[in-house]
Structures are given as structure tokens and as C-alpha cells.
Amino acid sequence: MAVKDFTLDIKDGEFIILVGPSGCGKTTTLRSIAGLEEVTGGEIYIGDRLVNDVPPKDRDIAMVFQNYALYPHMDVYRNMSFGLRLRKTPKDKINEIVRRTAKMMGIGELLSRKPKELSGGQRQRVALGRAIVRDPKVFLFDEPLSNLDAKLRIAMRAELLDLHRRLKTTTIYVTHDQLEAMTMGDRIVVMKDAVIQQVDAPQQVYDHPLNEYVAGFIGSPAMNFLPCRIARKNGNFYASSESFNLKIPPDNAKSLADYVGKSVILGIRPEHITIRSQAGKYDPEMAFKGSVWVTEPLGSEKIVYVKNGQNTIVTRLDPRVEVRVGETAEFVARMALSHIFDEETEKTVY
């Protein structure tokens, strides 16, 4: 995987997330920072130091690997102290650091165990502990939670955040899970095909995606993409197709003048569509009709798939809304929160 044109300035103490589908180059980027991958062009700085030709051992980084990469023949204590022992740290100092960190990570009782005697979550903690004792300039995490089961993953997510708040060490974290990216990062870097798509705070990425790809990648269920045409009537702009005709609020429409009559993609998130009975006061020009195809009650919400002409539109409704499969109903889109994407360049128009 060759990563091109990757320019990113990471602030001291920042928690940066590289997110993207598998094979998008995020791990390659991380490994380049670690020095495990050869960099053929460009420069990597840690602090003020150019590290392109610095071997991994001298970069003062710590990395947590997806499969933990604990040394199978060493017990937990030796695993954690392996890096320190090389640095000629005095024995009692090592002992103190390792024991303190192990206690903090909740693995104080496991110091004499071998990795194969540990559960997945415990191994994860040891791997983290091994990184923490080194007190490095940068933490690199390569999908550290992806081998854990769902419940543990959520618990560890919170612990990692808490850890970062306490240690304030600059962290670069790779994941393919957009939920992890949204919940953990100060800033997230969305990558696709070895190219950065967008770098911004999670909420910004969610609210203002730069292109269709980012819009679809962040958010779950994913944003609806509806092919349509921009029409102009009575000074207002409309996203219009055979099966819907939705008014675009004037505030959003400023950049649309060039697109009148052209094919575009309307993007609207499932949570920004409600059923008419829930909509309260609404603009009838921002509503469309559809027949309920599938409903997925999740307890806290209800995901409803609606057939509208050729489109299947996903909506996220209040769980108490009664909808019957096959029923035709009217749905209201919060068009102020929608997006228009250029059909050719896939860039966001607004």
C-alpha cells in the first residue's frame, strides 16, 4: 500500500484517529511513523526532530499492535519491562514503574503470568501497560480494540480515553470503526485509497463532510444518497426527482446557481428524517411519500426502510412511532441539515 500526499500536523497531546476501510493506507501511515515502513518521499518530524532515517528503536515511540504482540516466552512483568531494561534504567526504578502501571491498568495480580494464560482483555491491558511504562513521546495504536468482544471494546474505549486524559501523551490511533473514531478522537483523519479525505473534529466531519465518501463513512446507519436534479421555481431551489421534490432552504442554496438543471446527489442522514405525525409544524415542500418496507426496532430507536420510487431511504424514528410494513406514509426531511454532492467530483456543494 503506497500512501500519497499525506500532510498532517499533529499538536502535542492530541488524540488523532486515522479511520478508513481496510487497505486505505492508515496502518501503513502508522507504521511509517513508527519507522517500520520505509518512507520513499516526504518528511516525518517528531517534535523538532526529522526522523526519516532514525530507526524505530530511537524514535521514542510506543506502539500497541492489533494482535498485542506480547512476547510469548516472557511473563507479564518481563513483557512490560523489556523496553526499560535496555535503557539501563535502575532495577528498583523499573520495578516501581512496572508495578505502578500494572496497578493502574488493573493487572497488578497478573505480573507473573505468561501471555497465553491471559484473556483477550488482559492481554490488551498488558500491551497498553508495556507502552505506558516507556513514557514515550507518541503512542501509536493499530486497531487495538478490534480483537475484543463488543462489550469489552466499549469498556476499553472509555478506559483509553481516561488514560489519555491523565497521561496527555500525543496519540495516533488507527481504526476502521467509525464509531471509535467519532467517540475517541480530538480530530479524525478519514482516509480512502491512500489519500486523506478530510481532517477535522468528529462533529465537524459529521456536520460538514467534504465529500460523498466521508458523508457515507461517518454515521450509522449511513447517510441516504438520492440521485436528483436541481430545479428552480419562484426563486427557490428544489432537489427534485420523479418520486420527490424537496425544497432547499435559501441559506443552503447559495452555491447552487450553477447546478440548476444538473444531476446531483442529495445526501440526508436517517436521523434527519421523521414521519409526519412526529414532525410537528413542518414545511409541506420538504416532505415526501414512501411505503414502509422493513422496520428494525432497536429499543432506543426504530430504523425504518422506506421505498420511494427507485430509492430505499433509511430513517431513524422514535421507537414509539407505530408504522406497519406496506403502509404508505409521509416523511419530513430536515433539509437544512441535508447536503448536495456534485455527481462527477463527489465533492460537497453545500
Partner: protein
Amino acid sequence: MRRVMFWIAVVIVLCAFILPIAWVYVTSLKSPEDIFRPEKLAFLPTLYNYKYIVTVRPSLLEFRNALIITLASTALVMGVSLPAAYSFARFNTGGGHLLFITISTRMFPPVVAAIPFFFLFRDWGLLDTHLGLILLYIYFNMSFATFLLYGFFREIPEELEHAAMVDGYGRLSIFRKVIFPLIKPGAAITTVFCLVWAWNEFLFAFLFTRRVARTVAVGLAVFWGSIEIQWGPMAALMGLAILPTLAAAWFMQRFIIRGLTFGAVKG
């Protein structure tokens, strides 16, 4: 019923393996008159045959030769094969072709190599020398050992090395502190295989040695003369010659299980 069948099968297999060995030891303890009277189950054990191979026909030299050649060739093979296999496994050195060429020396019948080697060794004065046989055994064992070790190295996840690099270690100390401890069972098995093979090797030892460097395996065949076969002393020498290999087999069974399930201990 199934259990009965199971034990019958076990007994048959055990007999097939143990009876020949038992025959060797029983025969070695028989006096020449008793050897050809198998119907006589009870006999007076004697150490006559063992005395014979020590005093009448000294065979200890052959033991020493075999020991020198076996140990030296195995040590050199491991010295080269360990780094070679590591390099093949980790850096894909030679893009797979080099590894294939290495293994391909094992694919033709070894005797094919005997004639060219014989002329070469004759010209270089290596016939009937320890060095000659050591070189030959290196040639034959190296490919095998490299291939076996290659498999073991492949089982070690690359991330372990990366973790050690990030932890601050250089390539050499990583090999010493992380890789080698993990490869130990595999290296032990490979070493034992090389030792046993070199110890037992007959064809080349027979063709390339006369007197000075003759090994035990060849020495055994010498009892097979044109006038008579000296079964008793031959059995005695056999009994001694298989002791090291039996020890190796015993040693190996502890490791071979671990070696074969090596992949299960991933970090």
C-alpha cells in the same frame, strides 16, 4: 469392543517396532552356539560379544569418528541454517527461488551426487577424512534443516519483532532475546534430526571412507564377511550404535509435540 480392537492394534504396532530392537539386544547377549537355536527361549546371557567388539575387533574408533562427524556437521549446519532460514522467512531472500534451489538438492536420489563428489574428493584428498564426510553431511543436511527451520520461523508473527524494535532493540538482540527463545523447540528438533541422520548415514560413509574415518554405520556392515556373518558381535555393536538415536528419540518426543503445535502459542 472398540477398546479391545484399539489395544490389539496398539500391540501389533508396538511389536512391529519393538521386536527387531529386542532381537538385536537378545542376540547380542547370546553365545555363538545359542544364536541359531531360537527354539531355546532360555539361554545363559554372556558379555562375550561386547568383549569381542572392544578387544578382538576394536570398534571404539568408529564411534569416535561417527561422533566427531555427526557433531561437527550438525553444528555447522545449524550455524548456517538458522540465519539462512530466518532470512528466507522474514525477508523472503531470493524471492523464493533461492529457497527452492536449496530444497531441490534433496529432490534427486543422493547417489546421483556420489560420483561427481567422489572424483572431486579424490582430487582434493578428502577421501577417508573426517572433513570430507563432514562436508558431505553439511551438503545433505543443510537444505533439510533450512527448510524445517523456515517453517518454524514463519510461525513467529512479525509483530513481535516490530514490538521489540519499537521497544528499542536492534536486529541482533531481537534475534537473541525474542526470536531465538521462541524458535528453541524447533531448533532442537531440527538439531536432533540432523544428528540422527548423520549418525545413521550409510551410503556416503561407505563410499567415501576406508579405515581412518569409518563410522559406526559402516562398521556394522563389516561383520558381513565373505566367509561368515558374525551375528553376535554385529548385534552387540548395533545395540550400542542405536543407543544415541534412542536417546534422541526420547528427547525429541518432548519437543516434537510442542514443535508441531508451535502456531498455537501466538502472542
